[in-house]
Symmetry: C2
Subunit: 257 residues, 2 copies
């Protein structure tokens, strides 16, 4: 069965989508079969992998009880990497799901048959920048939580909130198996004191939970999505590509049974 990893952080613009796309692509390159679920109405992971945003293509209708998630799985241009795309309709999803039955475990119920099958080794879920219904559904459906953390002041403030919600989801029985896989430092700019201070503070706070690999701020990472490609397919020898390749290796070490 596949391991399910939610990539989440309430703080916006910290590199959730960039991390989900590039880790998924690197894991596929290492031979794992990966499904990326784009749960963000902005559909950045969908366009970042070169797909159009098509009405009706997302998990939206299945989350409201119409059809299965398997119907929505599409291939991408990249070997061993599939996606459940997002769409604009997902904006309305939060309110409609909030009013539905069993509103926190709807994604969990949809993903169970997909994860139980033999099609995928890893399922990565890209979450919107909030702790609303869609993100809580991702927490309820996942084995692990991965928190990208930008090396800046505001990002530091928000980390305790995500951690608190993880404990709540685990302790109130919504998903007792959810564990924090780790915290990934992103957009590290070696020229500033601020970045180094934030990394030090996070390591003091979270210790070994912080991945050794730090993702540098690198313009090629911001350019790649405009070509619909992960960094290893856009600029294979760039610092951003190297960092995500090393991170993928570190992630596999942590997933070992």
């Amino acid at each position: 069965p596949a391991k399910i990893i939610a990539v989440a952080n309430q703080k916006g613009g910290v590199g959730k989508t960039t991390t989900t796309i590039n880790l998924s692509a690197c894991l596929a390159q290492l031979g794992r079969r990966v499904l990326l679920v784009d749960l963000d109405p902005q559909a950045n992971a969908t366009s970042g992998l070169g797909l159009e945003k098509t009405v009706g293509a997302s998990a939206y209708r299945p989350l409201l009880g119409e059809g299965t998630l398997a119907d929505k799985i599409c291939p991408t241009a990249f070997e061993r990497l599939h996606i459940v795309p997002s769409e604009v309709d997902m904006c309305g999803a939060e309110i409609e799901i909030a009013r539905a039955e069993n509103h926190l475990r709807r994604l969990a119920a949809l993903l169970e048959p997909v994860a139980a099958g033999d099609q995928f080794d890893v399922i990565m879920i890209d979450c919107p920048p909030s702790l609303g219904i869609l993100t809580l559904n991702a927490f309820a459906a996942s084995d692990y939580l991965l928190i990208p953390l930008q090396c800046e002041y505001y990002a530091l403030e928000g980390i305790s909130m995500s951690h608190k919600v993880l404990s709540q989801v685990r302790d109130n029985g919504v998903n007792p198996r959810l564990q924090l896989l780790g915290v990934v430092m992103t957009m590290f700019d070696g020229r500033t004191r601020l970045a180094a201070q934030v990394v030090e503070e996070v390591r003091q706070h979270f210790g070994d939970l912080v991945f050794d690999t730090v993702i540098p701020r690198a313009i090629r990472l911001a350019e790649a999505p405009s070509f619909g490609k992960p960094i290893i397919h856009y600029d294979k020898y760039s610092p951003g590509a190297a960092a995500y390749e090393v991170l993928a290796g570190e992630l596999l070490q942590r997933l070992k049974p």
Copy 2:
């Protein structure tokens, strides 16, 4: 009566809070009496102005019908600048407000007496990175919408969504007076081609609606919130401070009757 401006963009990390804090501080320096309403559960504008996040201090209870907004207005350390702080409880607000009566105009009803009075000239609302209930309440309560737009690819993709929602709010009668005050380009990094491409594309799309002033990517802007100060009080002579001062002047030109 005060003019009410919502600062919003569904995309995360584009500079909504940084723009709300620094424009508010510059307008106060220019002699305007400003109220900043922090509508984001992350409460970044609250801590960025040096206030603690205190339980019960936010607009949360008034939005659910308990008490007035006037009760929640606090002074800041900066002359002519007041704030309605945010708090963690605001996370739960979206679901509770969604179930309440008149759920889109609850903030509008709370702000009406404050704006009608003679205490403030400008009210700025910092929105969370979503188009959910809290942001829709801000749209319903405001005279103008200001959209900060990061000079990067994903930010470009999201701009049409905010514009679409603005038209919906105006045309379906929730708030017929809402206008787009403009689009502010943020985190412009002159060393990259990507930033210049994005600015050009936005100017083609939105023409005169794009402010002339472009906010540069400047590390001092990211450092200032860790000292609880707007940039003009943290590093008055920095490029970030100059850019927001010029932007404040341009904004006042656009607000002229």
